[in-house]
């Protein structure tokens, strides 16, 4: 009896976010993806994981954990995986809100809930996570990473104009307007800058929400190296050059 009641409560809770889709790009995360999906599923019923050509058992773990699974037959990169995930999510009935969420357990479900509530309350188009809002405690972020991220923001006039403080945060919540127009063409890590560019170009109403990024040993080992920043800058410059 008690069990059944619990289930009803759980279902009510789940129904609250039934119009939200979590988009999780996955590349060789078999070790953690199962737990990340299961944990997120306690709050969000709809999760689509895009397996970006993983060589390990990521796909099996995703399926076991109860997420929708879309598999790239070959590895394309995180930007392409996010675009595929959003394309899939927006084709599902009732999808109204979309979240880009990392597979390595860095992002917090609580942060997502807060960002969603804010998106709805303030009628925004997109809410981006930030680690660097004024007054935020940044001591848990590795020093070198902090410096590089801040430099990237400083070097991007567009990011500053939009009032963004953390352009390379993977946690984003957005609505149907953004999802329908979204067309990420940078397959690799440079897609974060492309997101900012699209926000600017389409005049989407954007806001930042302070979020906590968990720097676990796993995510630090897996995370993108700082030298990759060179690639990101190069991609962005080439794009700017070819646009005008």
């Amino acid at each position: 009896m008690i069990l059944r009641q619990d289930l009803t409560v759980l279902e009510d809770f789940v129904a609250e976010w039934s119009d939200v889709w979590l988009v999780v790009p996955v590349y060789n995360e078999a070790q953690v993806i199962g737990d990340v999906v299961r944990h997120a599923r306690q709050t969000f019923p709809n999760i689509v994981c895009v397996d970006d050509g993983s060589a390990d058992a990521s796909a099996e773990r995703i399926h076991e954990a109860g997420a929708h699974l879309v598999r790239h037959p070959v590895n394309l990169g995180q930007g392409a995986a996010i675009q595929t995930g959003v394309s899939y999510a927006k084709s599902r009935p009732g999808a109204k809100y979309f979240v880009t969420f990392d597979a390595d357990g860095q992002h917090q479900v609580d942060d997502v809930v807060r960002m969603l509530k804010r998106l709805q309350a303030e009628e925004l188009d997109i809410v981006v996570g930030t680690r660097f809002l004024a007054g935020a405690d940044t001591s848990h972020i590795p020093l070198l990473k902090r410096l590089v991220l801040k430099t990237v923001v400083m070097l991007s006039p567009r990011t500053r104009r939009l009032g963004l403080t953390d352009a390379h945060n993977g946690l984003r919540v957005f609505n149907r307007t953004v999802a329908d127009t979204l067309n990420i063409t940078i397959n690799g890590m440079g897609h974060a800058s492309e997101f900012v560019e699209l926000i600017d170009h389409h005049h989407w109403k954007v806001a930042e929400e302070s979020v906590t990024i968990l720097y676990t040993e796993y995510s630090m080992a897996k995370g993108q190296s700082l030298i990759n920043g060179v690639n990101i800058v190069f991609d962005s410059v080439m794009r700017t050059g070819s646009r005008h």
């Binding site: 789940v14 109860g66 598999r71 063409t185």
Partner: protein
Amino acid sequence: MLIKILLILAVVLLILLFLRHHGKSNTAAGVKIGFAVFMVFGVVAVLLPNAVSEIANFVGVGRGTDLLLYGLVVAFGFATINTFLRFKELELRYAKLVRAVALQNSTVPEEKAPEPSDA
């Protein structure tokens, strides 16, 4: 003398290669004209080395060889950029193809209530 034959042969081969790909690629017309001019210049340069030197002197470069070197550097730069852009375009098409295949083969999870986890 032998080098002249080899060079002209190489140019003719390049033209043939270019013509065979003609219908398939959508290279800009400007690139094609530039390429044709380059081919003609190549033949002239082989047959009349002095003419190249004269052109070099005319534009203010000491030797014909230097003029060729400068031209080569510029041509190489163009070729590199062209290749880079072509690759980008291909990559985008490739991503679209992969996306279409991926979306066709998506797996919907079996209906079940989310299980509690200790994560």
